[in-house]
């Protein structure tokens, strides 16, 4: 089956409704939750994704890469597609597509890949994202065939509370904390080997640091830095780097 913008959703919806129902039944009693409602996800796919991506047997690259067998794949790994430098870097750092990383990417692409070319504003509704991802999950390896394949159920995810994003940073505190960053990241924004973080918008800085903190972004040095920063400290750093004047 190939799903793309030229196909109607009807056939896919019927097929996936059956698969989705089976999945839910299989997980009864396990304590795990299904990834989402794949049938609803198939509808959302057409509106949210299909203009740029194809998926399924025979799918090809278009504006975006095809997403067949995306679960478990390393980021920026589809042959023949020209990715942004940013997502290629993330792929080398070890970013793999899982439910968790895909969910973060669809919610806000910049949370995971600051320089991504995916022109997509993000899908704020968690259930909608889960439903699309449940639909997409059907087009990747299944554990019954490939035991090491990505899971088909999920645990409850920790979401970044809105109040975290609303924290106003203490810029002076941020300036002191920034001295740890500027051993590698140059204040003047020069970027060679290590990306610039100068003049980043505060909200983007905050979501990126939390993504490192939670292990969504893969770089070991940055994870090490972020894991010991609390919410106030991340906000302080964001405030400083957004207005850095050194």
């Amino acid at each position: 089956m190939k799903v793309n913008r030229f196909k109607t959703i009807l056939a896919a919806g019927v097929t996936l409704a059956a698969i989705g129902a089976g999945g839910v039944q299989a997980q009864t009693g396990s304590g795990a939750e299904p990834l989402g409602n794949a049938e609803h996800g198939a509808e959302l796919w057409e509106y949210e994704c299909a203009a740029c991506h194809e998926m399924g047997r025979g799918a090809e690259n278009g504006i975006g890469p095809h997403l067949t067998r995306i679960y478990g794949r390393r980021a920026a790994d589809v042959e023949g597609f020209v990715y942004s430098d940013s997502i290629e870097r993330m792929g080398r750092d070890g970013l793999r597509w899982t439910f968790r990383t895909l969910d973060a990417y669809i919610e806000n692409p910049y949370a995971l890949v600051s320089g991504t070319r995916m022109s997509y504003p993000g899908l704020p509704d968690a259930q909608d994202r889960a439903d699309i991802l449940a639909f997409m999950r059907q087009f990747s390896d299944m554990p019954e065939n490939i035991p090491e394949a990505e899971p088909t159920a999920r645990r409850i995810e920790i979401e970044l509370p809105p109040e975290v994003l609303a924290i106003r940073g203490d810029r002076e505190w941020g300036e002191y904390l920034a001295s740890e960053c500027t051993t590698c990241h140059q204040r003047d924004g020069a970027a060679m080997g290590i990306p610039s973080i100068t003049y980043w918008p505060e909200d983007r800085f905050v979501v990126a640091m939390h993504a490192y903190k939670e292990g969504l972004r893969p770089h070991a040095v940055m994870q090490n830095v972020a894991r010991r920063l609390d919410n106030e400290e991340i906000a302080a750093l964001a405030a400083y780097f957004a207005t850095i004047d050194d």
Partner: protein, 421 residues
């Protein structure tokens, strides 16, 4: 009030006094003297001067007019970098941040009088003293070796002319000859440094002298990034490198620079190039200042990098005995920022922030084959303690290794900007 000529003149005199007041007040500014212009000292001087915005008088004492970083000097040996790429002047620290840069040797510290004596005869008073003098060598570390013989058997562990000398010796080694490194005992500057150097020497020899051999005589049981280096050596330089550890006499070694021999547990080996990296201790001025202990290093307070022996003295970088942080340029830079904040707090009532320490260390094994190790640290009452770390993995793909190498160049540019701009 009736204005008379006398009044006007008097007013002008008073005005002159007021105009000259900044110079007079300038003498009352708190004074910080920093000894050593490397990763610890240059960073501390820059952060104190920059962030105090003229409220603190900062003097940096460093004999060298051009500072060559020890980090990346191995890449110079390997032909990946030029020596000039690693040289940095102090001009911007003076011009932009108002630091009084004095190119002289500090030869004495009077901690009671709070003064530093320079070889040129001058005396510098201080309210706070920052010592960041790097390392010196233990004279008795490798019998037969001394600084008098360092042209025959270079250490190249302080970058500059020694690096040039060792590079020339490696490049001119006879075909099929033997390069020997006498590795240092713990603790020493840059734990992976000697082994990155082995990688770089092997890189050069594999290209120009492929039948040459490399012998490592090592007093230590193991070393930093050992699995990564040994995997890399097997891939890039198969059969070229042999390491003799303490199990086979690597800890019972002496050298004869005139005969160009190395004795390993009594067995004499003829070598063509001998790179002796001696055992190390705190820079001499720390010892002269009386802040070192029997270990040869200078104990530091984990929360702020003060000397444990003097509240007015801070000790940074390689010389400091602080706990779990390795002796590295990154560590020194990290410690310097904590000390700078503490000093500004003490002298100008600036906000005091809790100490934060980190270190990451990159090494190059072969062309575009970079690896890294790092950790974050927290001060406890006892020491600076490692709380979390990471290391590259054996088997990473070539693109990641290349990215790691490029990252190390980015870090280099970042840290020298953090020190000198």
């Amino acid at each position: 009030m009736e204005f008379k000529r006398r009044t006007v003149l008097g007013g002008m005199a008073a005005g002159a006094a007021i105009l000259s007041a900044p110079a007079v007040l300038g003498q009352t500014r708190p004074r910080v003297v920093v000894i050593g212009g490397g990763s610890g000292g240059a960073t501390a001087a820059r952060y104190i001067a920059r962030d105090s915005q003229g409220a603190i008088d900062v003097t940096l004492v460093e004999p060298s007019r051009v500072y060559y970083t020890c980090y990346f000097s191995n890449l110079y040996l390997g032909g990946f970098w030029e020596l000039a790429d690693m040289g940095h002047s102090y001009g911007t620290l003076a011009a932009r941040h108002g630091i009084n840069v004095v190119h002289d040797w500090a030869v004495g510290v009077d901690r009671d009088a709070q003064t530093v004596t320079l070889a040129g005869g001058d005396t510098l008073p201080y309210d706070r003293l920052v010592l960041s003098p790097g390392i010196d060598f233990r004279e008795d570390s490798v019998p037969g070796w001394s600084v008098a013989a360092q042209n025959r058997m270079p250490h190249a562990y302080k970058a500059g002319s020694q690096s040039e000398l060792l590079k020339a010796q490696v490049e001119n080694m006879r075909e099929g000859g033997t390069y020997c490194m006498v590795a240092p005992p713990n603790p020493y500057r840059c734990p992976p440094g000697p082994y990155e150097r082995i990688s770089m020497v092997a890189h050069v020899l594999s290209q120009h002298n492929p039948t040459a051999k490399i012998l490592i005589v090592d007093p230590k049981e193991n070393f930093s990034k050992q699995g990564l280096f040994e995997d890399g050596w097997a891939r890039h330089y198969p059969g070229m490198i042999e390491r003799v550890g303490p199990d086979f006499g690597g800890d019972i070694v002496s050298v004869d620079p005139d005969a160009m021999t190395v004795s390993i547990d009594g067995v004499v080996e003829n070598v063509d190039v001998c790179n002796v990296i001696p055992g190390q201790k705190a820079g001499r001025i720390a010892e002269l200042a009386g802040i070192t202990d029997d270990s040869g290093w200078a104990p530091a307070v984990p929360a702020n990098m003060k000397s444990r022996m003097d509240d007015n003295v801070y000790i940074l970088g390689d010389s400091a005995a602080q706990g779990d942080m390795p002796k590295s340029g990154f560590s020194a830079n990290s410690q310097a920022k904590v000390a700078a904040n503490s000093i500004r707090h003490e002298l100008t009532d600036a906000r005091l922030f809790p100490a934060r320490y980190a270190n990451t260390c990159w090494s190059l094994i072969g062309t575009d084959d970079g690896v890294k190790v790092g950790a974050s640290y927290e001060p406890t009452d006892e020491k600076i303690a490692s709380v979390e770390g990471f290391i590259s993995q054996v088997g990473e793909d070539a693109d990641l290794r290349q990215q790691t190498y490029e990252e190390s160049i980015g870090w280099y540019n970042g840290i020298v900007a953090d020190m000198f701009t």
